[in-house]
């Protein structure tokens, strides 16, 4: 410190009245609050799915009832997985459209994403009913409980994603999604990609591991 020990000259303090001091206008990291919040939420989701995937790995060999490879239809699930992965592509196209201010195109791609997600969910519902017909009820064995909980939980995540996508399309159609709010689309996209990536892990762990 200085030797003179005078009072420190009045430092220029940031004016609290400036709109720039308002939340969301600028941030220390340069990442907006909502986007950082979504990243943190997804980090937390990793642990949630981590717990369920671990449980599945522990229980994937049942003591009774049909086992994984008695019921799984790998070609069918591969196709529905491919559909879900393609929805990530359409999601990217939607984000790129809004950044180029092409609202109509964005709505088309968002709708396509939601549709592909819905096809995946329909496939999952079909798959579940087929498994139940083959004798794999939710309470049949430790494997069946773990399988339905893990994949069903993922299905719920996809469904929530579809609801968000449809809400975005509706908002945009009513003009409530102008360019400066394009980040909302990007953030929903982050969630959607995460759900896809989790499916890649689940598909590998549940369906492909012998």
């Amino acid at each position: 410190m200085s030797e003179t020990l005078t009072s420190r000259p009045s430092i220029a303090e940031a004016d609290a009245h400036q709109p720039g001091a308002h939340i969301d206008h600028d941030t220390n990291t340069g990442i907006s609050n909502t986007k950082l919040g979504m990243w943190l939420f997804l980090a937390s989701e990793c642990l949630l799915f981590g717990g369920l995937i671990t449980t599945y790995l522990l229980y994937r060999r049942p003591l009774e009832g049909p086992g994984p490879h008695d019921v799984f239809d790998i070609p069918f699930t591969s196709v529905s997985s491919f559909v879900l992965l393609m929805s990530s592509l359409t999601m990217v196209l939607a984000v790129s459209a809004i950044e180029r201010r092409e609202h109509q195109r964005m709505r088309v791609w968002l709708g396509a994403t939601a549709l592909l997600g819905a096809v995946f969910i329909a496939g999952q519902i079909y798959e579940f009913t087929a498994f139940v017909r083959e004798g794999l009820g939710f309470t049949t064995s430790r494997f069946s409980s773990a399988f339905y909980t893990l994949t069903g939980f993922h299905g719920v995540h996809v469904t929530i994603g579809i609801i968000m996508l449809v809400s975005l399309v509706l908002l945009s159609m009513r003009g409530k999604l102008p360019e400066h709010r394009s980040e909302t689309v990007e953030i929903v996209g982050l969630y959607w990609h995460f759900v896809d990536v989790v499916w890649v892990v689940i598909f590998a762990v549940v369906y492909l591991i012998p």
């Binding site: 720039g20 937390s44 449980t55 003591l63 400066h180």
Partner: protein, 676 residues
């Protein structure tokens, strides 16, 4: 740190909100006072106060449960509670104290203080902040309604499965516990996201990470622990819910379930949980000890990084809760070693606090006494904790009262003493009047006495072999004397808490005849003390520019060459004056957080009783979320009555950035001045 990175912002100045008409189905509420202002508030300070008040209500409930336990154990063959009721009482005592008292008081301090300590206007997501609080409050009420609906949970706070299955606990108690904590988990998760974003994104100019007050650092670590620990508990609880409500086989041993699954998942959550309960208290005493020793905290980077180290290492010690469960010698050895290692960063903190006090001009005010109470009592609890890392010894102590003694020394002697210190220290800042010092000191000595009388004998009882969770014991084992001492201690402890609550009202009534406390009654060090007391809604006007750790202190004091402290400015000249706050843009209140939060317990009742009820709850939640999203972002007429065009916006942004980057390289105030 690149605070100045140039990139287009989400809302580039200029073309904002002009062509954008928010969907204004409902206008935002505007009340500033009265009950409406509390249920619609998004102000982090009011939310912090509500967290604290609600937690103290639950503290009284959990405390009464503790007194019931102690009365039951007063003499051999106690008959006050039946075995079944005793199980419910100790389960709810643990659950209440952990999830509804200690964690929320930590959240109360984090909410109230952290934005002030980093010079922010509010948290990153003010409405989500209100949502977190209401979810917590409703979850707490939801869990406790089980008392009136067929009995509370009875499986211990860790609720080991399969013991917590329908076969062994057919009442709805565990369903309430399980679903209630799932709901409370939503509160913790949203709160964690919110507070982490706030710390990372919303610091005042010049407030780099290594200039943040220690409490803010500990809040950051705590919230990261919550962010990653809560979902593990959630996944375990989803499994338990599937088992109990829908007859899944996760814990059905007949179908090959692994009884260790719950234990592992629970303690992967549970051990970070104990650190996230203690770290906020560590942060508080790290603020209080330097203030009353009139010395900077000893080894600021060490105390920060030991906190971060605890945050990381806390993930690698969970299985020391399971040494007797047969996890095998390799696992036992590994977790023994990691448990011994984690004592190191904790020891670093104890050393730092001691060295902070060493040679300081100590003032033994009530907050200081409670802080020293934490340092000493936590050390005892920490030492008995290290004993548990020695597996053979742990085998002897598992499920005895020795464990009960240990975790009460760390959680009550550690966390709660820290919170009491925080209450006494920050009371004038939050409410504008001091708590009575004489009563405060009496409060401390009574609490210290009662605490040690209650829990020190439990060490002896545990070593004598008295097991935990038994509702009674026979005469002749030598348990009588120490149980009587513990019961007397519990009542002294309860009276000390009652004295604290009395002190709140007593000091409030006396304060009317006293002069106002002023912004800085303790001659404190960090920038939250620059705000007027009680803190105005807008927090800071102007926003301070920070140039070092303990910035506020060095606005008041300088040091001579030989290290003597010299006052360089009057406190009154340094602290901020209360302004009318006009034109400072604050987030508007909202109805929706409480609406969405209200739907969640209804879904909970629905899962237990009838899916129709769950549907109604679900409609409230989803409808509330849509209302939330459609809500106009702000009331344009509110707090915007001075004109600032887009031009002033962008230019002042730049200035703030420059100050931030420049003060990084130099602590000399003059240089900061030349920049602007």
């Amino acid at each position: 740190m690149a605070l100045t990175e140039e990139r287009p912002l989400a809302l580039p100045s200029g073309d904002v909100e002009t062509d954008y008409s928010p969907t204004g189905v409902f206008t935002r509420p505007t009340a500033d006072t009265g009950w409406r202002s509390w249920i619609t508030t998004v102000d982090h300070k009011k939310i912090g106060i509500m967290y604290g008040a609600t937690a103290i209500l639950f503290l009284i409930i959990g405390g009464l449960e503790a007194l019931l336990i102690r009365l039951q154990l007063w003499s051999p063959n106690g008959t006050l509670l039946s075995a079944d009721l005793y199980n419910q009482v100790y389960t709810m005592h643990g659950t209440t104290m952990v999830f509804l008292v200690v964690m929320p008081i930590g959240a109360a301090f984090a909410n109230y203080l952290m934005p002030l300590q980093i010079g922010a206007r509010d948290v990153a997501f003010p409405r989500i902040n209100a949502f977190s609080f209401w979810v917590y409050a409703f979850a707490g009420i939801f869990i406790n309604t089980s008392w009136f609906l067929g009995g509370a949970a009875d499986g211990g706070w860790f609720m080991y499965a399969p013991n917590s299955g329908v076969v062994f606990s057919p009442t709805h108690g565990i369903d309430f516990w399980n679903i209630g904590l799932l709901i409370a988990g939503i509160a913790s998760l949203t709160g964690a996201v919110n507070l982490i974003v706030t710390v990372l994104n919303m610091r005042a100019p010049g407030m780099t990470l290594m200039r943040m007050p220690v409490f803010t650092w500990m809040t950051l670590v705590t919230q990261f622990l919550l962010l990653f620990a809560i979902p593990v508990l959630t996944s375990a609880q989803i499994l338990l819910m599937m088992d109990r409500e829908y007859s899944a086989n996760f814990f059905n041993v007949a179908k090959g379930a692994n009884p260790l699954l719950w234990e592992h998942l629970f303690w992967v959550f549970g051990h970070p949980e104990v650190y996230l309960m203690i770290l906020p208290a560590f942060g508080l005493v790290s603020e209080i000890l330097p203030t009353f020793a009139r010395k900077p905290i000893f080894g600021y980077p060490f105390i920060v990084f030991s906190g971060v180290a605890i945050g990381f290492m806390g993930w690698g010690v969970w299985a020391h809760h399971m040494f007797v469960s047969g996890i095998g010698p390799i696992s036992v050895t590994t977790f023994s070693l990691t448990t011994m290692f984690i004592a190191v960063p904790t020891g670093v903190k104890i050393l730092n606090w001691t060295a902070t006090m060493w040679g300081g001009k100590l003032r033994f005010s009530a907050p200081m006494l409670f802080s020293i109470g934490l340092v000493t009592m936590f050390t005892i609890g920490g030492l008995s904790g290290v004993m548990h890392s020695v597996a053979p010894m742990d085998t002897q102590q598992t499920d005895t009262y020795f464990i009960v003694a240990h975790f009460h020394y760390v959680l009550f002697g550690g966390a709660f003493f820290g919170f009491m210190a925080g209450f006494y220290f920050y009371w004038p800042k939050a409410f504008g009047y001091m708590l009575n010092e004489t009563l405060g000191k009496t409060n401390f000595w009574l609490m210290l006495l009662g605490f040690n009388l209650t829990f020190a004998p439990m060490h002896v009882l545990g070593l004598q072999g008295m097991s935990r969770r038994i509702y009674t014991y026979s005469a002749g084992y030598g348990f009588e004397v120490w149980n009587k001492v513990a019961t007397v201690g519990a009542f002294i402890l309860a009276s000390s808490v009652a004295l604290f609550i009395f002190n709140i009202f007593y000091s409030k009534s006396k304060s009317k005849n006293l002069p106002p406390v002023g912004a800085d009654p303790w001659d404190a060090r960090t920038i939250e003390w620059m705000t007027p007391s009680p803190v105005p809604a807008y927090n800071f006007d102007p926003t301070p520019t920070v140039s070092r750790v303990d910035d506020f202190w060095y606005r008041k004091y300088g040091e001579t060459k030989d290290g003597k402290l010299v006052r360089i400015a009057k406190t009154e000249d340094v602290v901020q004056k209360r302004t009318d706050g006009k034109g400072i843009h604050l987030p508007s209140p909202s109805y929706w957080p409480i609406v969405v939060a209200f739907g969640l317990p209804i879904v909970g009742y629905g899962i237990i009783y009838s899916l129709w009820l769950a549907l109604i709850g679900g409609i409230i939640v989803v409808g509330g979320i849509y209302g939330w999203v459609m809500e106009p972002p702000d009331d344009p007429d509110l707090a915007h009555d001075d004109d600032h065009g887009p031009e002033s916006h962008s230019s002042s942004d730049g200035a703030a950035h420059d100050v931030a980057s420049e003060s990084e390289s130099s602590t000399e105030a003059k240089e900061v001045e030349t920049v602007v």
